[in-house]
Amino acid sequence: MESKLIIILIIVIGAIAISQLVRVYELTAKLRKHEEHEIPVRDNYLNAMLMLVFMVIQFGGLIYLMIKYGWTGRGPAASVQGEYTDWLLDLNLILITAIFFLTNFLLFYFSFKYVKRPGVKAYYYPHNNKLEILWTVVPAAVLAVIIILGLQTWNEVTGASPKEAINIELYSKQFDWTARYSGTDNMLGKTDYKLILGNNELGLMTEATIDSSIHAMRHGAGGILDIQKILNNRDTVLTDSLVNVLRKDLGTKERLLRLLNQMKATHNPALDKQVYDDIIQRDTLYLCVNKPYEFSFRSKDVIHSAYFPHFRAQMNTVPGYGTRLKFTPNMTTAEMRKIKNLPAFHYVLMCNKICGGAHYKMKMMVVVLEEEEYNAWMKGKESKNFKATYFPAPSAQAVIPAESTAISAMN
């Protein structure tokens, strides 16, 4: 409270002080017969001079930052595609830095040089078609080069992956990432968001997961039967708004149930094995150096963006709509640590599309390993594939934990 008073007091006193100063200034200006719209020669020269000083500060600032952070401060790229991008980025940066220096120099130098001098009239020079054509054509030519080089790289980077590329899915939700390796067959099994349950958080699609979702939708806590029971219970009095909420919820669930039943009818169980060998991986994404990767993305709730700053790769993840991206890491984490001289360095996957309060924390570490290390890690993982985690018991019966219901809308 006190600090608020002090702040207000300072503001008030400051305002009074300035207004008194201005009055004094104006009175003296009146005495000197100085008119506000007539700029004194001294002021004019001073500002012209400051223009040049500012240019030096501006240029100096840029050069200082460049030297301090080593050109751009972004470190080397860690993927094949990233190296293309960096080459092109450097080229463009050199070009625009040159344009920046040249045009700003002309601007500020002219501002300085051609300040009004008593008795000197400006040069009446309304146009010159040759000059104007020159500075239409030259930028156009430079841009043509930029466009051609840019599109070459763009096609390269966004083009289809080679056949041997390893498929990995990255799944985003508020506020974390989950990776799904495609397992021994290098094929990612089918998914559907309606199948998401406590023990199937990515909504993988097999006959068993469809069945358990149908079951949960009807019988689970907060499922259709539960809601009907509450609505039909004559002993409790429900407020109108609660009844509305429940009816709406019931409608949604009945619709979803219909869709699940359709899914069951058209599902091809022969594809289940594509799902069963998939491996779900949280916290850290392990990649093998020099292997091409094809990433596909799914999002559970809102748009996120998979941003791999060190690999110079980025792609939005959009609910209801799959996206993809490829890159080939070409430097292991250990190598990068050595280059950067940072023993604790990690590659990272960050979220780069505003997605809610904890957006800034939504990340996953990425570790690039040598082939042997990677294979060893993968060996350990294969026994923990989806089949093994989904049917943990020797009996081939899916577990449906009581709390694993999709829905908890009632609260």
Partner: protein, 618 residues
């Protein structure tokens, strides 16, 4: 009324028969000059609010998690308990800051103010084509500003405990939090973030009203420019200001309706259960049955407005500075026709480049290539404008009014911000810097600096026309140099933060400490520097505010043509009157840029001076 004091007695007819009441003169005024001032004051208020918001979240960025009395003072215990900003409110502040700056300060404020003041006065018209619609356009703007401002105070689905009746706003804390681009599903789902409840509803209602006001205003500007030019004022004798406002208004009329439909569809998704933008979504543990919509559709609609919008913001600033640079360099603007051509080319191209905001949404790479091509084309007319400004200064006789300083700085920042656009337009490079601070640096330098400098230049230059008094020049200088240094200090280092890979809209960059201490040190150091400069720049604006309000009441009385300018507004009497000119309207004989013309006695020849014998036009 006021005009009676002036020594002119042949009033326009409609001038005689009514005394104006306070309400019709100052509040529901239909006079374009008063409406222009109303726009300006409203925009200045909104600008101050938005600037304050930016200081609040910059404090969090520089000193993440540290307690600050300042934050607690402004945000209270709800949003800054113990003086630490809440995550959600960080996003709310950024969102409302961006929304206000782009729409309320630079669209409503910049083009609303100066289109109103200058279109009739520079064209030699008595007023806008429709005074009534013009008034309506301001009141829509005012109402939408008020709603946007109030949305900052949403708490438990109500404002100051006042509940809004009906079903559409009973949840939510804080203002919209999905960024100024309000991408769904984040903005569509109240479950996803606390600002997507009533705060987002208010955002959408406010923007709907804003768009309606902007459309009415723009139509009026277009009709006025086409129909109400005085005798002799052909299209190719119009000042570049008017060309800029004219093309801006056309862009607004063609693009804002698309944003309106985007907003209406979003409202339907939020309130009526439709699925325009929603498909296969599960928020937390709640499964939605929406299917078939596309969040990307919203982005297409949004950016179909959003890109022209950046030129809606920029063109008026360029127009104002063309006028100011010519006047104060005492030289004709170089390449007048090429300047018009560039404005038209920029206007046209700005409609076919929106996809450059969506390179990494998974759009077809070929479509991306098309947008790369069209976007880079815009660099050509932009370069032409820059070179023409520079040539205008060459061999000039530059007078450094505060307006001139801001106009030259505008050219500098237009270059600095423009060249980084070349990187962002190149889809292959955009992959690496999209949504990072590099983008924030880029758009602040073109919008936050260039366009705002244009606005300041306009205020300093036309203040005598608006308020009949002069602003203090020395304070103008102080304001300019502090603002220029401060703003560069804020936005220049952001390029480095961005290229180092820092995503935007992050509440706390100390997360870098977990994986890359190099980047961590760089980003955290620069964030402190940026915030310190931001505070300096913000304090610099106090000088401006003081000068502005003080001069309205106590500044020295302005002469009729303080800057020795050629355009028609300076031929009108200092005293404001309905109809702008006593007696007949001025007749135009020449273009507006006859400065330092050889053979003339003075270094300027106003547009209403007939050609001397044997004189050729230009």
């Amino acid at each position: 009324m006021a005009s009676a004091a002036h020594d002119v007695n042949s009033h326009d007819q409609h001038e005689h028969h009514h005394e104006e009441s306070f309400v019709s003169k100052y509040i529901f005024s239909q006079d374009h000059k008063m409406i222009g001032k109303q726009f300006l004051i409203t925009a200045v208020f909104m600008g101050v609010v938005a600037m304050l918001l930016s200081i609040l979240f910059r404090i969090q960025l520089a000193w993440p998690g540290e307690s600050s009395d300042f934050l607690n003072f402004f945000l209270g215990d709800q949003w800054a308990p113990e003086g630490v900003l809440k995550e959600d409110m960080y996003l709310g502040l950024v969102t409302i800051h961006g929304t206000i700056m782009v729409f309320f300060l630079l669209t409503g404020g910049l083009s609303g103010t100066f289109s109103n003041i200058l279109i009739p006065l520079q064209l030699g018209a008595r007023d806008m084509a429709s005074g009534f619609l013009n008034m309506l356009s301001f009141w829509f703007f005012f109402l939408s500003s008020l709603l946007m401002f109030l949305s900052l105070f949403v708490m438990n689905g109500s404002i100051f405990g006042i509940d809004i009746p009906g079903d559409w706003g009973t949840i939510g804390n804080g203002p919209a939090m999905a960024g100024w681009t309000v991408y769904p599903p984040l903005s569509a789902l109240p479950q996803a973030v606390s600002g997507s409840g009533f705060g987002m509803t208010l955002w959408l209602i406010s923007m709907t009203i804003f768009i309606a006001g902007s459309l009415i205003g723009s139509l009026n500007y277009i009709v006025t420019v086409i129909n109400l030019r005085t005798a002799g004022m052909t299209m190719t004798r119009m000042p570049l200001t008017i060309w800029a406002f004219f093309v801006t208004a056309i862009l607004g009329v063609l693009s804002f309706p698309v944003l309106l439909s985007a907003a209406l569809l979003l409202m339907m998704d939020r309130m009526a259960g439709t699925s325009f933008y929603l498909s296969d979504i599960m928020v937390g543990s709640e499964m939605l049955s929406n299917h078939g919509g596309s969040p990307i559709l919203f982005q297409h609609l949004f950016w179909f407005l959003g890109h022209p919008e950046v030129y809606i913001v920029l063109l008026p600033a360029l127009g104002l500075s063309s006028e100011i640079i010519a006047t104060n360099a005492r030289k004709p603007i170089f390449g007048y026709k090429a300047m018009i051509g560039s404005i038209l080319a920029i206007g046209f191209l700005s409609f076919i480049v929106w996809g450059h905001h969506m390179f990494i949404t998974g759009m077809n790479p070929f479509l991306g290539s098309v947008f790369v091509f069209t976007t880079l084309l815009i660099a050509i007319p932009s370069a032409v404008k820059v070179f023409n400004y520079i040539t205008t200064l060459w061999k000039g006789a530059i007078v450094y009014t505060p307006a001139m300083l801001f106009a030259i700085a505008l050219v500098s920042t237009f270059i600095t911000g423009g060249v980084t656009g070349i990187i962002l337009a190149d889809s292959a490079l955009d992959i690496a810097v999209h949504d990072t601070y590099f983008v924030v640096a880029h758009f602040h330098i073109v919008m936050g600096m260039s366009a705002v400098f244009g606005m300041f230049a306009g205020v300093y230059h036309w203040f005598p026309k608006m308020y009949r008094r002069m602003m203090n020049t020395r304070m103008g200088y102080a304001h300019f140099w502090i603002t220029l240094i401060g703003a560069y200090g804020v936005f220049f280092p952001m390029h480095f933060v961005g290229i180092a890979g820092a995503p935007r809209r992050y509440y706390d960059y100390s997360v870098y400490g977990e994986f890359d201490t190099d980047s961590y040190n760089m980003i955290m150091d620069l964030n402190v520097i940026i915030t310190v400069f931001a505070i300096i720049a913000a304090i610099g604006q106090v000088i401006f505010l003081f000068n502005f309000f003080y001069s309205i009441y106590r500044g020295p009385v302005a002469p009729q043509n303080p800057w020795k300018s050629n355009t028609l507004e300076w031929t009108a009497p200092v005293e404001h009157m309905h109809g702008n000119w006593p007696g007949a309207l001025p007749v135009v004989y020449r273009w507006p840029y006859d400065y330092s013309k050889p053979g003339a006695a003075d270094d300027f020849i106003p547009q209403n001076v007939p050609l001397a014998e044997g004189e050729i036009e230009h």
